[in-house]
């Protein structure tokens, strides 16, 4: 341990990128992730725009980079509890939550077969259940099972302990504390989808068929709860009339004040998911501005050429549910026609914006935040750098660039001392 080392907090795309970029530039890196696996939000995403390629492909390469690089030490189920010291010399306390599964785990999966308890599958946005001992998703890295203590019945059950031939399960595992000293810190705890229950006029959380764009990603993903089929949550039917509502919680003084910058492209991409499965489905996009920056414009234009895709300029004010069939009525003024229209859909996707994780979980050091909770790095604690969606909302490529840039700033912090 020395001042040449860098702590990266958050094991999503930005954090992973920062970690491998720093390590490959010669730094000793500690990577801390709160979940039981690395990959963060991108692991939940089905395909990236505009190439429609699977995020697991890029994650695989990055995991290989981590596996091969002895300079990277990563911790899962870990959170930074305390930071003291200053640029060039930070003492950091990391708290490790018990996984209840030790390094003996071979990933064979016998334990889940016998586990009687269930929990909500938060990786799949709560659609479906997992066992109390589970692997968060098939591509989880590290491929080690984990127990949700809140769902596990504990010693009174112990079925998994019996089933495991490799003595990998320890129901009495205790939390641990790790202390490290680093020269700089990169904070990349990323984002969470804006809580749609706060969008009460859209029935967020109340109407089953009003879902977030992230839920749609899970449904469209082969590893998701519907094995890639996009279905109406209320009855499992194939949707034929789908509305996308942009800026759901973004660009809004009442919610997220900034533009989340990815939702436009995300929706255009999701239009393609739907079209691929249901070529005849009617798709409507309610928008204010379509922000398809740079070459993404090509992608936007292609979507516009599609049959049965309609754009309505106008922010809907309300979504109502038809209680008989759980269809949804979307009320909006269509500025292209200047008419008020109430249109019926069988599925509504809210293009939910990005709320920074730091809006609620602050960095345990003195730092400034902008109105939405994004970290403003620099004084009062130089040497801590925000990267990716912790600094500002952005797409994957932008976040990786940002993370790469943050690494150079971090290295500067380590050489200054």
């Amino acid at each position: 341990m020395g001042n040449k080392s860098v702590l990266v907090v958050g094991g999503g795309m930005s954090g992973i990128s920062a970690a491998v970029e720093a390590a490959e530039a010669g730094c000793e890196v500690y990577l801390v992730e709160k979940n039981s696996y690395l990959g963060g939000r991108v692991a939940q995403i089905n395909q990236y725009f505009p190439k429609m390629c699977p995020p697991n492909c890029g994650l695989e390469i990055n995991f290989q980079r981590i596996k091969k690089n002895p300079n990277i030490h990563f911790f899962t189920l870990a959170e930074v509890e305390k930071i003291s010291g200053q640029e060039g010399n930070f003492d950091v306390t990391i708290k490790l939550k018990p996984r209840y599964v030790n390094e003996n785990c071979t990933g064979c999966g016998k334990c889940t077969e016998v586990c009687p308890a269930e929990r909500d599958d938060e990786f799949n946005c709560g659609i479906g259940k997992t066992k109390a001992i589970y692997l968060a998703h098939p591509f989880a890295f590290p491929m080690k099972y984990v127990i949700d203590a809140a769902a596990c019945q504990g010693d009174s059950c112990g079925k998994c302990v019996e089933a495991c031939e490799y003595k990998a399960i320890d129901l009495n595992m205790e939390p641990q504390t790790v202390n490290i000293n680093v020269g700089a810190i990169i904070w990349a705890t990323g984002w969470k989808p804006y809580d749609i229950t706060k969008l009460s006029n859209y029935g967020g959380g109340r109407f089953k068929n009003v879902i977030t764009n992230l839920s749609l990603e899970r449904m469209a993903a082969l590893t998701g709860p519907t094995e890639g089929k996009i279905l109406r949550p209320s009855d499992g039917k194939e949707p034929q009339n789908i509305a996308f509502v942009q800026c759901a919680g973004s660009r809004d003084e009442n919610h997220l004040k900034t533009c989340s910058s990815v939702c436009c492209m995300a929706t255009l991409k999701q239009v393609n998911y739907v079209r691929e499965q249901y070529p005849d489905a009617n798709i409507t996009i309610y928008f204010m501005d379509i922000r398809a920056m740079g070459k993404h414009e090509d992608y936007y234009q292609k979507v516009l050429e599609e049959q049965n895709v309609k754009l309505i300029k106008g922010k809907p004010s309300e979504i109502k549910e038809n209680p008989e069939n759980n269809n949804l009525l979307v009320l909006a003024e269509n500025q292209f026609t200047q008419e008020v229209e109430t249109l019926e859909y069988d599925l509504v996707v809210l293009a939910t914006g990005m709320e920074p994780a730091t809006a609620s979980d602050k960095v345990p050091a003195e730092l400034n935040y902008d109105v939405d909770g994004f970290v403003i790095d620099g004084p009062p604690t130089p040497g801590i750098y925000a990267a990716g969606c912790t600094r500002k909302p952005g797409d994957v490529a932008t976040s990786v660039q940002d993370a790469t840039a943050a690494v150079l700033k971090a290295i500067q912090s380590t050489v200054r001392r």
Binding site: C247, R251, E253, H255, K313, K315, S317, A332, E333, Q338
Partner: protein
Amino acid sequence: MSGAETVRKYDPEFTKKVYQMDNGKWVKMCMQCGICPTTCTLRGIMDHSPRQIIQLIRAGDKEQVLQSNTIWMCTSCYTCSCRCPRGVPMMDIMHDLRHLAEEEGYITNQSHMAQVYYNDVAKRGRIWEGGLTLKYSLKLGVGNALKLAREMQDVGMEMFKHKRLPIFPPKGVKNPAKLRAVLQKAAALAKEEG
């Protein structure tokens, strides 16, 4: 509201005038998202949606804005303001516009109604529906009044049956002088601030 061939000439004069009013700064902040038109419960009987009113101000279309019934139909329910992503207090803008319409002499049925209503309340602190109807009719002129009466006769009869259209005025509030003092004070305050 307009055919494809309509060419609207954007003119800054009226725009700037509204910008300078109390809530003019909020007119600037609207981003035309379009949530207010369908949020407004009275959109159905407005000739322009609140969003259109804002953009018409920006177009400098004084006639359309001050002639519109929209500015008078706003009931200040605040729903649009609550939902507005820019936090624009639309009811306050409408209030400014009503003043402007008055000042500029834009007399419409709705402005008549507002005047009659105010007078009635100012006088006794309560509404006398019968008298209100009569006074409003007088303002409209006999021909228009008869026309309105025909259109509204069902509503009128129902109200009458339920004793909601009394022929004699109701008792006023206990102390009308105090009420007038309140109103005068409010007017004075408004003048000071405005």
